[in-house]
């Protein structure tokens, strides 16, 4: 059964879209990632025009992360103060990111930049997470108590210390602001919520407990994606509500399942799975860049003034 999408102007199978939304929703609930880095390439693959795919996936991310966020709020796994601090940095970062994006667009190589960004960041983060969490699992299996994570890194030497009660941290606001800023730049350039960078940054740089990380990341993603949706709707008019609703229908159900599924897995196992997923997407994009394309030509349609 096909459905015609009014803004994308294509007709796509209804169940395919529901399925895509559901799959990404499960991941969103399980790992606290918005899923933008997955759903955007998947939408390209089913034939949605890239501009519509990028803008609409932001809209979908709002729904799936709100859904998962409520589940986490109920369990008091969200550090609102940390979320707002990250967001403040994120806003400034996003503004700079949009500026960089438009500059590169004029140079005509923005696609390449986005792809290289994906390969670089997904590759590095995926590999680091994978090694770290496999080590953690090995230690757990061998029965040896792992050295507790260092609680006093460079993060603790800075001024302006604030107590983040939910995370059990008493640290300077500067590191969260910087993390938010950096993720803001990347999310504007790569067109994603930034959860897959935010989650490891919160674990490894800010030393937040894994339990709180997912909920807080969802909180931050919801705000970023919500802003991006409205911005895209106004500036490029490429948000397709019908497409979004279908992805959302699948996504909200998936997110709830994902949140519950996540509770049955241990934190290290969760991280191994997320690492593998990130590496798989990285590998796929790297292949696209290096293998001889079957069709070297592509068409970019310009709108009539």
């Amino acid at each position: 059964m096909h459905i015609y999408l009014p803004v994308a102007e294509v007709s796509v199978n209804l169940f395919l879209l529901l399925g895509l939304g559901g799959m990404v929703g499960v991941l969103s609930g399980m790992f606290g990632v918005g899923g933008g880095f997955l759903i955007t390439p998947l939408l390209f693959f089913v034939g949605i025009p890239p501009a519509v795919a990028v803008a609409t996936s932001a809209n979908q991310i709002v729904a799936s992360s709100v859904s998962a966020l409520f589940a986490h709020l109920k369990r008091r796994n969200v550090d609102l103060r940390m979320g707002v601090t990250l967001q403040a940095g994120g806003l400034a970062g996003a503004a700079l990111g949009v500026y960089i994006f438009n500059m590169l667009k004029q140079l005509g190589q923005v696609d390449l930049l986005v792809q290289l960004c994906y390969v670089l960041f997904l590759g590095v983060i995926g590999a680091l997470m994978f090694i770290e969490s496999v080590n953690a699992i090995r230690h757990a299996k061998a029965g040896t108590r792992r050295k507790p994570r260092k609680r006093h890194g460079w993060v603790h030497t800075m001024p302006l210390r604030v107590r983040f009660r939910v995370s059990g941290l008493y640290i300077s606001v500067i590191p969260p602001l910087l993390v938010g800023f950096f993720v803001g730049i990347l999310s504007a350039v790569m067109g994603v919520g930034g959860g897959f960078i935010m989650v490891p940054a919160m674990i490894y740089i800010l030393h937040m407990p894994t339990k709180v990380v997912v909920g807080t990341s969802l909180f931050q993603i919801t705000l970023v994606a919500g802003m991006t949706t409205v911005m895209h709707a106004v500036s490029s008019q490429t948000v397709d509500t019908v497409l979004a609703v279908l992805l959302i229908l699948g996504g909200v159900i998936g997110a709830q399942l994902g949140t519950r599924l996540g509770m049955y897995l241990r934190a290290e196992q969760l991280r191994v799975l997320l690492a593998l997923l990130v590496l798989a997407v990285c590998f796929k994009i790297a292949l696209d860049l290096t293998l001889t394309p079957s069709e070297p030509y592509s068409i970019t349609e310009m709108r009539l003034p």
Partner: protein, 255 residues
């Protein structure tokens, strides 16, 4: 006076014999295509008759039917290998290319139609594409235009339907053209050419309107005319859907 009138009448006959002797009377199964939510492409039946005042000539007649969707400018890019990865390198700006183009004929187009007639009436697919503004005209231009035609042909946006028009007793003709699901809104110019010995002897033109209706139309117009409201609406739908799903699952779990 009478002589002058006779000469005038004779001149008229000489000037326009091609159009006067055989004319197209055309019908369409539908002259409006409504894009609804369930739209999955549409078949259009184009049929008609050839009206003539003289006996049927010896040489059989050929019929060409061309449907052309709204045109837009576009850029065709080619990827080349640099430092081991494939990047967009060369590009060609195309001034105008139809978003949809189908040509149905009674036989192979290059046998049915003489090249100079194609240039005059812009019937074949390459003629429908206005490639370059002159300055970008290079040896490569042809390769880019070919790529454009190849990609759109694979998507059924450009259709070469040779032999798809059937002519009955040199008088009645018909063909069916399938419009794909990914149609652009607008007027689709439909032209019918009567061709004999490679030359167009008469042609007729009509347009098919393709437009969104109902919810599709409402959402599309809203997104263009009230983008902020549309954006906030999309956002609200997302938040409500997310909250509702969360609430629904909690209820399910309680029971």
């Amino acid at each position: 006076m009478i002589r002058a009138a006779r000469i005038f009448a004779a001149l008229l006959l000489l000037a326009g014999p091609a159009t006067a002797q055989e004319e197209v009377v055309m019908g369409l199964s539908q002259d409006e295509v409504a894009i609804t939510t369930a739209f999955d492409g549409s078949n259009i039946l184009i049929f008609g008759a050839i009206r003539r005042e003289t006996p049927i000539p010896e040489v059989p007649i050929d019929v060409i039917v061309a449907i052309e969707g709204p045109s837009t400018p576009l850029t065709v890019r080619r990827k080349d290998r640099k430092f081991g990865i494939w990047v967009n390198d060369a590009a060609l700006n195309i001034r105008s290319a139809p978003s949809f183009y189908a040509v149905a004929t009674t036989g192979p187009l290059d046998e049915v139609l003489l090249p100079f007639q194609d240039r005059r009436y812009d019937i074949s697919v390459p003629r429908a594409i206005r490639a370059a503004d002159g300055e970008t005209e290079t040896a490569d231009t042809a390769a880019f235009v070919e790529a454009l035609i190849r990609i759109r042909t694979e998507e059924d946006l450009y259709q070469h339907l040779e032999g798809a028009v059937t002519v009955d007793q040199d008088t009645l003709f018909q063909t069916e053209i399938a419009l794909p699901a990914n149609l652009t809104e607008g007027r689709y110019r439909t032209r019918i050419f009567l061709v004999r010995e490679g030359k167009v002897i008469s042609y007729f033109q009509k347009s098919i309107t393709v437009r969104k209706v109902g919810l599709e139309r409402f959402l599309f117009n809203l997104s263009r005319q009230q983008p902020l409201i549309y954006g906030l609406m999309s956002l609200a739908i997302a938040v409500i859907a997310g909250w509702a799903a969360s609430a629904a699952f909690r209820l399910l779990q309680r029971n």
